[in-house]
Amino acid sequence: MTDKIFHTIGVGVAFSPNLKANIYEAARLSLLFESTLVLIHVGELSEEKEQQLLDILQPFIDQNLNYEMVFKTGDPVDVILSISEEKKVDLLILGALQKENLVQYYLGTIARKITRQAKCSILLLIKPSVERIACKHIVVNGLDDPKTKQTISTAYFVSHKLGSKRITIVEEITKQEVAVSVDDDKSLRKSAIVKERLKHREESRVRNIISEVPDAYKKDLETKTQSIFGKRGYSIGHYAQFIRADLLVMNAPMKSGFWDRLFPHDIEYILSELPTDVLIIR
């Protein structure tokens, strides 16, 4: 494994109140991950806009940030997706919206569409900030899925780079997996046994994945595994919110179509209410 996972980081730039915070977060990550930053703005190129962005980027340019600016008009979703592909962006950073009064964050329609269609990894920020806020605790999914291995190793890479203290790998055990419906004391005992077995199976699977992660990444990092019972994809967000994790790392969904939005599952739940910053690995 190389020390670089994300060669190019893209960030959508809109001249909103969050502009500075979004760019600061993106630039900081680009420096940490040693990546090139691509600022994508959907709109006309103008001297004024360019100057404004350069002003914001100045402290990072001083630290040798590689950056690039792209201005293009068109449909925001199409533009951002096509430029990401063109520039071979590995990680796209998007800001989420906070709903008034409630401490719940939602993705705007554009960010949501991009998240569904993008071919690269996505980082959704709920509270971008100009000042650096240390990322202390990362929660990562440990689903039984071919992508999980990559997700977990990326999570270790990210936490290593960000200097996190703790990583929790969450195995979600769904009702379907337990497959014993609890009716009375007898079936309750049976389901408890099945659950315990599933838990062991999941844990050994996750342990195998962790053992393949380079030791350098695991240094100074506390690893914990946790089995939770709930709906796949949703409960992990609930858990991340509950333990106040700073970043949730997840597998990308297989694909998401019309039915998935009607009967939401996996990532759709996370998109409908963001528990914390979310990194979706593709």
């Binding site: 009716d183 408890a192 019972f229 709930g230």
Partner: protein, 735 residues
């Protein structure tokens, strides 16, 4: 996890007890069955057929343990409706179809159906059913049968019926009304008299026995006809051979009709709700705290209903009052239900002609009392104490049910509850947005405590409680559970009530069930709903002490104890005692505690049984913490009933060297060896030379009381003295 028991041996060991208990239940099931069927306009025997078929099928195939099945109160109204709109033959077809639907519900695992209705709406619907039963049968009880269209007019005309009854000229009607009123008195005052011999026969059976005796008295002694008007007697009951050979005609001719399916759906809905609620309530009474398999029970009830419909019976449902009588008489498994059916067969075979000697008003008095219990003012008071909005839900459901029928009534109840939730939260999106979301997360904390942690998001009400329930049901009750509502914006009364049930279930099986994260809601004051109930501090018992309480205060001073008159809901220390296995302690008050906290004398309010068989009892008890372990036992005065019980399998431990003690005292306990060792000469002599008390040990503490009523100050002093001396005898033995 408990070690596997030898089930077959246990079954046979408990069989005599269950047969006995089934016998007592059949005594109450017979008059209720006749009455419920008559009230539904079905042939009187239909109720008994229901109980027999239900008892046999559900006891063999069912998934609950101590429940009794038979004709239900709630179904009287729907059955009556079905019979009057469709006719009896088509009504049987509707009953059969509802049996099929019930089975389907079981196969679709809809055992949580009753959880989808707000509890206040269900209460309102049941109260409406109670009022309808009461309204209709009240007139018959007074020997003044009337036929009206709407249930409300029956209620309105009650005063006229009473007035008319005062001016009866016809002696037949006077006797009929007298029989009804006397029976009502028996029902009301029966539970007030706690006499072992009287209580052996349930109140409804006393009514039957007395009225049959009355009829024989006129026939044999006075050589007169029964003075009660002929039309107010139970009509002819077919003999057993007639029942088995002459099956009723079942007509499926209306099967395409809307009215037919309306009846089927009402029957199914009410039958399932009544059964599911009863099963839930009976599980709380089960001394072994087993969990019923509701889905399996639904299937069995459905099959029972089908069979019952073909044989001329009504819907088979699980019934709460009869089940609680079963528990109180020592029923421990389904064989009690079977034996209840068996004894009903015996009654029909032997006494079917005698049953026509029962006056209708007497039977209807039982139903009037049942109806009153469903809609009692106590219930309304209780609902009001939860919150005003619950009362709105309750009354809306009640009135609409009275006016427009059950299905519309319960739907209105659900609708009003939803609207009230919207108004209280001033927020509709909270509910619409999050209704379909799986808002419950459960995980086992990985640290040493290994609690189950359940976190609930957004809102939790009757509409999505099943998600929480599913998670909670998957935890066995000997674990520690923490339910966290801190991320939840709204919790409704239905949920709080259900969680309270979980709390007591966990406490009884040795686990813990904590609810956290609601303090914020209370401070918020946006959610007064039911949360208020949770936060409520037990009210002070009032500063105006009664004479008795003043005396208790004086005793406390004399004996240097501390006295508190306040109600104390913390009765957990009582649950390990055998005596409270089938009883629900409500609260203790008037506590006298010594400085070391080992002696605790208190008054207690507890309840026994459920519904019409529910009896609230107040008693004075002494609890002594021994700090050492002693065998678990229960010691009482040996009475005639104990000798009867002994035949039924409640074995008494006797000592060869202490004949007098063995004869006078009834000693039970599992571990005979250690108990015999514990009851040495000193202790036996102590008991022989002192007054009788009921004494129970739970392994490390003693519970002592004399009667199931409050003790006088003198008795309290005697109890204190007895307890002190007993403690010194026991501690000198152990040391």
């Amino acid at each position: 996890m408990t070690p596997k028991k030898n089930n077959t041996a246990l079954f046979f060991k408990q069989l005599p007890k269950n047969i006995f208990s089934g016998f007592v239940v059949s005594l109450i099931a017979l008059p209720l069955g006749l009455g419920l069927a008559m009230a539904s306009n079905a042939p009187a025997i239909a109720g008994v057929i229901t109980a027999i078929v239900g008892g046999v099928i559900v006891s063999i195939l069912g998934g609950s343990h101590v429940t009794i099945t038979g004709p239900g109160n709630g179904l009287v109204i729907v059955t009556l409706g079905a019979i009057s709109t469709l006719g009896l033959e088509a009504a049987y077809a509707a009953i059969i179809c509802s049996g099929v639907l019930l089975m389907l519900l079981g196969f679709l695992r809809m055992g949580n159906l009753a959880d989808f209705f707000p509890s206040s709406a269900i209460q309102g619907m049941l109260a409406a059913i109670g009022l309808i039963i009461l309204g209709k049968q009240f007139h018959i009880m007074f020997g003044h049968e009337i036929v009206r269209d709407s249930p409300i007019s029956y209620l309105i005309e009650i005063p006229y019926t009473i007035k008319d009854a005062l001016h009866y000229e016809n002696t037949g009607l006077i006797y009929a009304a007298a029989a009804g009123i006397l029976s009502l008195f028996i029902m009301v005052f029966y539970s007030k008299i706690r006499n072992k011999y009287l209580q052996l026969i349930p109140a409804p059976m006393w009514i039957v026995i007395l009225s049959i005796g009355f009829s024989y008295y006129f026939e044999m002694v006075l050589h007169q006809d029964n003075p009660i008007a002929r039309e107010y007697m139970v009509p002819a009951i077919p003999t057993f051979s007639e029942i088995t050979t002459q099956l009723p005609k079942v007509s499926f001719a209306n099967i395409g009709g809307l009215a037919f399916w309306g009846s089927v759906i009402s029957l199914t809905l009410i039958a399932s709700i009544e059964s599911l609620l009863s099963i839930k309530a009976v599980d709380k009474l089960d001394p072994e705290k087993r969990r019923s398999n509701v889905n399996r029970d639904l299937k069995a009830l459905g099959l029972g209903t089908i069979g019952s419909g073909f044989l001329g019976g009504l819907n088979v449902v699980t019934v709460i009052a009869r089940s609680s009588v079963n528990v109180n008489n020592g029923g421990t498994n389904r064989s009690a239900n079977f034996s209840h059916a068996f004894f009903l067969v015996v009654f029909i075979v032997l006494f079917s002609t005698q049953m026509t000697r029962i006056p209708l008003p007497a039977l209807m008095a039982i139903l009037v009392y049942t109806g009153y219990k469903l809609a009692s003012p106590d219930l309304i008071k209780k609902i009001f104490s939860v919150g005003k909005e619950q009362l709105i839900i309750f009354f809306v459901t009640l009135l609409i049910t009275l006016k427009l029928g059950l299905i519309i009534g319960i739907s209105a109840g659900v609708l009003v509850t939803v609207i009230i939730h919207f108004i209280i939260n001033k927020n509709v999106t909270l509910f619409l947005r999050h209704w379909v979301k799986p808002n419950v997360l459960m995980f086992k904390e990985e640290d040493a405590t290994s609690n189950y942690y359940v976190s609930v998001k957004h809102f939790c009400s009757f509409a999505n409680f099943y998600r929480l329930k599913q998670k909670l049901d998957a935890i066995s009750e000997d674990n520690d559970v923490i339910v966290d509502f801190s991320m939840c914006e709204f919790v409704d009364h239905t949920v709080m009530e259900n969680l309270h049930n979980y709390q007591s279930a966990f406490a009884k099986k040795g686990g813990h069930f904590d609810i956290i994260g609601l303090d914020m809601h209370d401070a918020d004051s946006k959610h007064p709903f039911a949360l208020r109930k949770l936060a409520a501090v037990p009210k002070l018992f009032g500063y105006n002490l009664t004479k008795r309480q003043e005396n208790l205060e004086t005793i406390a001073k004399d004996y240097s104890l501390s006295y508190s008159a306040d109600k104390n809901k913390n009765t957990d220390f009582l649950s390990p005692f055998l005596f409270f296995k089938t009883k629900q302690p409500k609260h203790i008050y008037n506590e006298l505690i010594d400085s070391t906290n080992q002696f605790k004398l208190f008054d207690i309010e507890f309840s026994e049984g459920e519904f019409i068989a529910k009896e609230v009892v107040r008693a004075s008890m002494l609890h002594i913490d021994l700090n050492t372990s002693i065998p678990v036992f229960s010691l009482d005065r040996e009475t005639l009933i104990d000798k009867v019980y002994a035949i039924a399998g409640f074995s008494d431990i006797n000592f060869e060297q202490h004949q007098d003690f063995s004869k006078r005292f009834h000693l039970v306990g599992e571990n005979t060896g250690t108990i015999k060792q514990f009851f040495n000469d000193d202790l036996v002599h102590f008991f022989e030379s002192n007054p009788y008390y009921h004494i129970e040990s739970n392994g490390n503490s003693l519970l002592i009381f004399s009667k199931q009523r409050l003790a006088s100050t003198k008795e309290i002093k005697a109890l204190l003295d007895f307890g002190k001396r007993l403690k010194s005898v026991i501690s000198s033995d152990i040391l």
